[in-house]
């Protein structure tokens, strides 16, 4: 009786024998798997961001480099003291814009996996508001693509933060200036 393993081996060999250009077969299988296995992770959540899980999700044998960026709630902004931040989003568009940014990153760098997670709601000092994780074959591309994703997120992804200052007042953060206008 044939085992499954030997059956697969046999079929693979006979398939190869029917092809004129044998050397291309393994390459094409590899390429196809490669395309299918590339992950784009995008999420908007009220829960704590599981950045360890995200980091594991973007790691790959094909990537020699994996980096993780975390944005956290900072206490002082130009001398003014923050006690907490409140985040809100236009969730459907935020996800669509995140996917678009990852698509653009893939056009510029050889990205294996990429992930962007943004948290919403009331966040205390030190809590993580955003995580960007990316893997590429070499480290230079990971740093560049990661920087691109977080910089572009801050211009294009419709999420807003409201400062809760230590004097009890609140204030929406709405950047002004040319570099805050999204590309149309």
């Amino acid at each position: 009786m044939q085992t499954t393993e030997s059956l697969l081996t046999y079929n693979f060999r006979s398939a190869q024998q029917t092809l004129l250009f044998k050397p291309y077969l393994p390459f094409r299988i590899y390429f196809k798997m490669n395309q299918e296995n590339k992950k784009d992770i995008t999420e908007i959540t009220h829960d704590k961001i599981d950045y360890q899980q995200l980091t594991e999700d973007i790691r790959s044998n094909q990537a020699g480099a994996a980096i993780l960026f975390l944005g956290t709630v900072r206490e002082f902004t130009k001398g003014q003291q923050t006690t907490a931040l409140d985040y809100e989003a236009y969730p459907e568009m935020a996800i669509a814009q995140m996917k678009e940014l990852i698509k653009q990153a893939r056009e510029k760098w050889p990205v294996i996996h990429a992930g962007i997670i943004h948290r919403l709601g009331h966040l205390e000092l030190g809590e993580i508001s955003v995580a960007v994780a990316i893997s590429t074959p070499h480290r230079g591309d990971s740093f560049e693509a990661g920087q691109f994703l977080i910089d572009q997120l801050k211009i294009h992804v419709p999420v807003w933060k409201k400062e809760n200052w230590s004097d009890g007042t609140t204030e929406w953060v709405h950047p002004t200036g040319e570099d805050t206008v999204p590309t149309k």
């Binding site: 236009y90 568009m93 801050k154 807003w160 002004t176 999204p182």
Partner: protein, 81 residues
């Protein structure tokens, strides 16, 4: 015709609602939409020039023609991260 407009962040607070109705005209461009918004919602007037307008979840320029079926959203420059 009447079109629903989603508002976020400071725009939502100033209008006192996360969704407003606006009377649009035939062939309304985004530039004309800004004028209509100022006229019909004076509470938003001060920030209208700075608002970003998203049509069907895409950023569009002022000469863009708004389809009556489209989803319109208005909000100040984003500040995520």
């Amino acid at each position: 015709m009447k079109q629903t407009v989603k508002l976020f962040a400071q725009a939502k607070d100033l209008a006192g609602s996360e969704s407003i109705e606006i009377q649009t005209e035939e062939q309304t461009t985004v530039a004309r939409f800004r004028e209509l918004l100022s006229e019909q919602y004076p509470s938003l007037q001060a920030i209208v020039p700075h608002l970003l307008i998203a049509i069907d979840m895409n950023y569009v320029s002022d000469d863009f023609l708004i389809n009556p079926e489209s989803e319109i959203a208005c909000f100040p420059p984003v500040s995520g991260g």
